[in-house]
Subunit: 348 residues, 2 copies
């Protein structure tokens, strides 16, 4: 596996690579029972009896998705599970079972591995999930964790990216930008900011909470038209919904729900917190669309599920209007900037 004189993965660009690999699998990608295959956050399989299985996996590599030094095993285990749970939950499915693959170095401390498993065990219990297997292998490279999740959803409650219609409201749970603000603090530990704000924002980055109960409440209502989680960034993820639905969209910049902690940090470091909300990613909030008449019921359902707010942040438009950002000064095209570096695990 030498690369002299050959094209390499690093030189090819991430999205081109993903497209290239997808095309190699075209013949085996969609057999019987596959409702959603390659190209979405999770696959959906018709399990019969009006039920679907939703399955997904994602790798996290040390030095890529968490720091090479200083990340606790608690955070690594927690996030490894959470990002995958989020993908499955955001389709309306109840995450039920997990398998965990670990790549371990000889010099990996036992205490670190203990923490990884303890946090997975705790989080699985919180979510009423079962960790049913996995495997451990040795690697000479960085430690990695690959988590596979299987969940179940009634076919009628399944929510995909593809159901949005012009006129639908665009809604988001909770606050946006906390994870990006937390990443700033991890990279700038010298920042002068209150302890509580620092803890809240860094935890949003290292211990994201997938919105499982809120997603269940939303899918049970059967009034939302499309849903996904915000992992890359709002600006990119709304584009995924529009592409799958054949629509355009406008995001109302001044309606973006930004936490007081993020506003506070932004004022200290003199940055625009809307940048975090639009382009920062990793918030693992739910992004959904629904007819305007359904919004009050959805807001009430999310509140009842313990999830706090569900905020309208824009509207689905006809495809011809493209993707735009409504600023106070007028509409501008929405930049597609997001986390598209090659280090992020990208779904094929």
């Amino acid at each position: 596996m030498t690369s002299e004189g050959q094209e390499t993965a690093g030189g090819y660009g991430e999205f081109a690579l993903i497209e290239r690999l997808r095309s190699k699998l075209s013949a085996s990608a969609k057999g019987p029972g596959v409702l959603v295959g390659i190209g979405d956050d999770a696959a959906v399989i018709d399990a019969g009896g009006g039920k679907c299985w939703v399955i997904s996996c994602d790798v996290q590599v040390q030095g890529m998705h968490f720091p090479a030094e200083g990340a606790s095993g608690f955070s690594v285990g927690h996030k490894g599970l959470a990002v995958n749970v989020s993908d499955v939950a955001a389709m309306g499915a109840r995450p039920l079972y997990a398998l965990i693959s670990l790549g371990v170095r000889d010099e990996t401390p036992l205490s670190f591995l203990d923490e990884v498993y303890e946090s997975i065990n705790r989080e699985a219990q919180n979510l009423s999930m079962s960790v049913v297997g996995g495997n451990v292998t040795r690697t000479e490279g960085p430690f990695f964790i690959d988590v596979f999740i299987a969940g179940e959803v009634e076919r009628e409650s399944l929510l995909l990216r593809s159901g949005a219609r012009p006129g639908d409201q665009i809604l988001v749970t909770g606050s946006l930008g906390n994870a990006a603000a937390g990443l700033y603090l991890l990279n700038h530990p010298e920042t002068k900011i209150g302890h509580e704000i620092k803890t809240m924002l860094t935890y949003a980055q290292i211990r994201p909470q997938p919105r499982v109960e809120e997603a269940q409440a939303i899918s049970a209502l059967r009034q939302a038209t499309a849903m996904m989680d915000i992992s890359d960034a709002l600006a990119g993820d709304i584009g995924h919904i529009c592409e799958a639905s054949g629509t355009g969209a406008v995001i109302w910049e001044h309606e973006l729900p930004i936490s007081s902690a993020a506003l506070n940090l932004a004022s200290v470091i003199l940055t625009d917190p809307k940048e975090w909300a639009l382009y920062g990613g990793e918030d693992y909030q739910l992004l959904l669309t629904a007819p305007i008449s359904a919004v009050p019921a959805l807001q009430e359902a999310v509140r009842a599920a313990g999830g706090g707010s569900l905020t309208p942040i824009g509207e689905i438009l006809p495809a011809s209007e493209g993707l735009c950002l409504q600023k106070r000064s007028g509409r501008v095209p929405l930049e597609k900037r997001s986390w598209d570096h090659f280090g992020k695990p990208e779904k094929i």
Copy 2:
């Protein structure tokens, strides 16, 4: 994640590490619907309506499970899929869906990745499986591939390690030792042996063929009492069946089915091919137990499935008799030697 003055994974020993990690997951290991959880080759979930889902994953790391230099992407993709398919099939399940996680270096040649996906695509088509998703991430360490498989089986046809009873015959599909003989040839390319033999044995090592149709035929008969695939080695794997079933066993050394190719190589390099068959591993043949009265029907079913031979190689004994090897000179305890280095992915 520094290890100064701390206990490390490498210093702890593989089996102790696995046990330690398993214990951390005890609280979340067996929720509702989990028929088989941590500790088997695959997990089994009650899907309702008399059906079970069987799910499994296994990582292969470059330099650990395939050579750092010289392994083709075809072989890496093929084996990554095959070893996981084998785990699911050996419980009697039909493998249906796969997810593929790849860890890719910047300098990984595109041609290598193309080969990985092309071989997975081809093998999935051969097995009528759908590759429904996965993800690609960057790593600075060795290339790795983690494959997740989901399959389905009727609950009445499910075969576990735990059903063997004293008096049952121990049976194995195909030949044993080819993969170990192939590994010898890969490590000793200067060996003077015919081209056909070399190809056949090295392919047994680098392109193992999971016995899916044979496993389906066996489980459909509902006469076998226990089954698993031979991945570690016969000597270790029969121990797993005995442990799960609460029995002992005797293996008849002179009944071990060894291919003429392996016999030929063994005579050239002056080694005992029974060592390969007993302790070599990676043959991915099926190891099963059944009452003696069921053996002719099982042999006919395997033959009809295109699988060739099903050979009686021993008998299940009461637990008090332990694990033994019947040699011409008499019975000796069966050594538990097998592939237990830390590099092999070990199921938790």
